[in-house]
Amino acid sequence: MFEKDNELLKIKNLQISFNTPSGTFPAVKDVSFEVNRHHIMGIVGESGCGKSVTSLSIMKLLPSNAVCKGTIEFLGADINRMEEKRIRELRGDDISMIFQEPLTSLNPLWKVGKQIDENLKMHTALDKKGRYQEVLDIMKDVGLPDTENLYHKYPHELSGGMRQRIGIAIAIACKPKLIIADEPTTALDVTIQAQILELLKEINATKGSSIIFISHDLGVIKEICQEVCVMYAGYIVEKASVHKLFEAPKHPYTMGLIKSIPTTASKGKRLFDIPGKVPSITDTIPGCPFEPRCPYKKPRCAQEFPEFHPIDEGHDSRCFFAGDF
Amino acid sequence: MKKKKISLYIGIIIIVSLLILMIVSFFYTPYSVTEMNRIKRFSAPSSEHWFGTDNFGRDILSRIMIGSQTAFFVGLVAVSIGLLFGVVIGAVAGYFGGWIDVFIMRIMDAMMAFPGILFALMFVSIFGVGIRNTIIAIGIMSIPSFARITRSGYIQHKEFEYVKNARVKGVSNIRIIFSHILPNVISPIIVAASMGFSSAVLSEAALSFLGLGVQPPNPSWGRMLNESQMYISIAPWYAIVPGIMITLIVLGFNFLGDGIRDLQDKRK
């Protein structure tokens, strides 16, 4: 379905654990997925599932006590085994990141224009004048008004929506091939969120950047992503096109998650709730990680560990009985 | 992480050693502190007198030991006065805010602007010298800094939702201030108390050095420093020993305070 030269990022058997004085904790236990050019891939999951850690590992932004195993192939080169110098060249240039909280991810003491300029300084050969013009153009591209004045403002002088646009401007400054967006609209009002999602879709369409979009909000994933991975307790439990995932999910966790969201159909009734809670990072489970909470569980699920396997074309699941759903 | 605990350990070792010295002094000193011996005046440290003797032939070690009681006593009571009033004042100012806060803190600012030793001097010259007034003066001097630390904790916490929760459940303000918020803001106050202890000891030493604190024949490390100045060329140990003791107790409490603060930071 996808040709070899269309592949941008290929993650295989990613495992990330953290070394602490009280022991080693696995945050990501087995993650594999591919992102192609011009593609928008979503990673969805609840807190503690490992989605943020996964995204940080792509840019090698994990803290020093993190141990990262597996391969992260970007355009053929394994980021996991790359030297620091080479990765710094990639960061901001070929791969960039948009964070959730623009107030803390922007430098409060620098003018916002300067922060975009900094990215261009590091990765392009433009001179000062050229960069200034480029920054203004980028700011216009992300829908910011009155760019000449705005260039000289500080982050705290801007609204949340505008700050996030600056964050996006910094991310797209060098026309990256891949943008990692970690919950970029979670902290924004719903009307501003709608604007930002439109902007990201536009960037994907006109500038061709692929996007990895991380969120806990299934609605947002549905809105913007073409393909999605569902994560639970450090594993990807289902991967499919957005259409197929919502139409016919093939993992009990995904099914439970979808049913938990209030819709018009659920008004006046009880919401489906997945009993129990997410396993803690220290729990070691022999069988399927979701088994304790699964309404469809069978004896096999507690004893054997399910591997990630294809059910349908472009639809993979980590459930033994996925084919039955 | 282990490196940071060194402050704490050093502080604990020093203070505990001095405490042991103090406790022992209640039951036993090698010589009586007032026993004078003309023959043995200014004798250097020896096996008979580990720290030598002073200008009256009194055993310096024994006087140092009893002096430790003064040091700890002064520190404890002065800091207690400062804590008691300072925390209450700071809590009320921080929690209620408004003109109460402005009024109280202007008074605290005035107190802080006034040089501490000068205040103690004035107090002692009006109310008389001696250990009781020394402690009261030092205690009063320390109120503003405790008030300030407490107040900032309360200003922060009164906006937290657990406080709003308590108010909305009908809990009385006094109970909120002392039962609900205090346990959450006490950490920096404890660090300040430890530092305050050493500062109280230093102040007492200064006052006694000036002759206004503890009066003869009661031993105080500060006064010993004072008395030994004249004889420093013939009996240097007389000055050195109390100087070292003051340094030790101040360092001890400072290390302890640092160590406690590091512990709290680590926990965060």
Binding site: - | F160, R175, P183
Partner: protein
């Protein structure tokens, strides 16, 4: 005629800023700029809006954590607007509040048991009685005795919210204000808590004022909903009508902004520009700078509240007399 449990009349909450210039009167942040609504016994009333709209301020003011600048609050017919001291404490056993921030809402240095005891102590209940009440009620929120000796940080977000709900219920109030109670929770936990709140409403005959920014949740949970913008109510109707027969342009853009497959609106309306600054609200209708149906009159005159259909109110010149 249904019984009214709460009536809010022209409620205003203004924060005056510090005076910076000697002869210039300081400005004010008009967090609440005159809201009116009533809540009937047994219903769930929703207050929805984006950040800065004043919905949390409304909740805090109604429960008298804040003092209103103007207006009236009538609870069960009694005017509680200016109550103080003992009288205020008495109504605390009738109206309670659940907060959003589950980590901050419980005292981090105290055990769950201590936290649950406090409201009872404040109302003069003796030790034996308190223990009995706590043990009897802990099951109400789906927890058991073993949680009593724990500290808040040992509990998950969902469990902490259950304790938050229990501490609000323990005085057996009739009316509960829920200020974004599920916004900080994962989707699956959110479902559990919403189910719990529904069950409790049936079991205990509660009335809810439900404050949230999540349009899906509000539609699901509430009977009637008011949409707020910059301290004012733009539209008020029952849930179905508000979402399907939307009149106010702001409400329309709000509902169309719901991401994913939007069940209520097909067209996505994208608002231009930014959220307004509460320090410097626009003239006339607060929404006019961003309104896609703006008319000249909107800049000058504030629209009045109109009942456009039975029990469906709108504040918009499009439907007013001055068209």
């Amino acid at each position: 005629m249904k019984e009214k449990i709460l009536e809010v009349i022209n409620l205003k909450k203004h924060y005056t800023l510090k005076r910076t210039k000697l002869f210039v009167k300081p400005g004010a942040v008009k967090a609440l700029n005159g809201i009116d609504f009533s809540i009937y016994k047994g219903e769930t009333f929703g207050l929805v809006g984006e950040s800065g709209c004043g919905k949390s301020t409304a909740g805090h003011t109604i429960i008298r954590l804040l003092d209103p600048t103007e207006g009236k609050i009538l609870f069960k017919g009694q005017d509680i607007t200016t109550l103080k001291g003992k009288e205020l404490k008495e109504i605390r056993s009738d109206i309670q509040i659940i907060f959003q921030d589950t980590t901050g809402a419980l005292n981090p240095k105290k055990t769950i048991e201590w936290i649950l005891n406090e409201p009872l102590i404040a109302h003069g209940i003796g030790k034996a009685e308190r223990t009995k009440i706590i043990l009897e009620n802990i099951g109400l929120v789906g927890l058991d005795e073993s949680y009593l000796k724990r500290y808040p940080h040992e509990l998950s977000g969902g469990q902490r919210q259950r304790i938050g709900i229990l501490s609000a219920l323990i005085l057996r109030p009739d009316f509960i204000i829920a200020d974004e109670p599920v916004s900080a929770l994962d989707v699956s936990v959110q479902a559990q808590i919403l189910n719990l709140m529904n069950d409790l409403q049936d079991k205990l005959g509660l009335t809810y004022l439900f404050i949230s920014h999540d349009l899906n949740v509000v539609h699901f949970f509430c009977d009637r909903i008011a949409v707020m913008y910059l301290g004012e109510i733009m539209e008020l109707a029952d849930a179905e009508n508000l979402y399907r027969k939307t009149y106010h342009p702001y409400t329309q853009s709000l509902i169309s902004a719901i991401p994913g497959e939007n069940e209520f609106m097909e067209e996505r309306i994208l608002l231009k520009g930014d959220a307004p600054n509460p320090l410097n609200p626009p003239s006339g209708c607060f929404f006019h700078p961003r309104c896609f149906k703006k008319m000249p009159v909107c800049e000058k005159i504030k629209p009045e509240k109109i009942e456009i259909e039975k029990d469906h109110f709108v504040c918009c010149h499009l439907y007013g007399k001055e068209r």
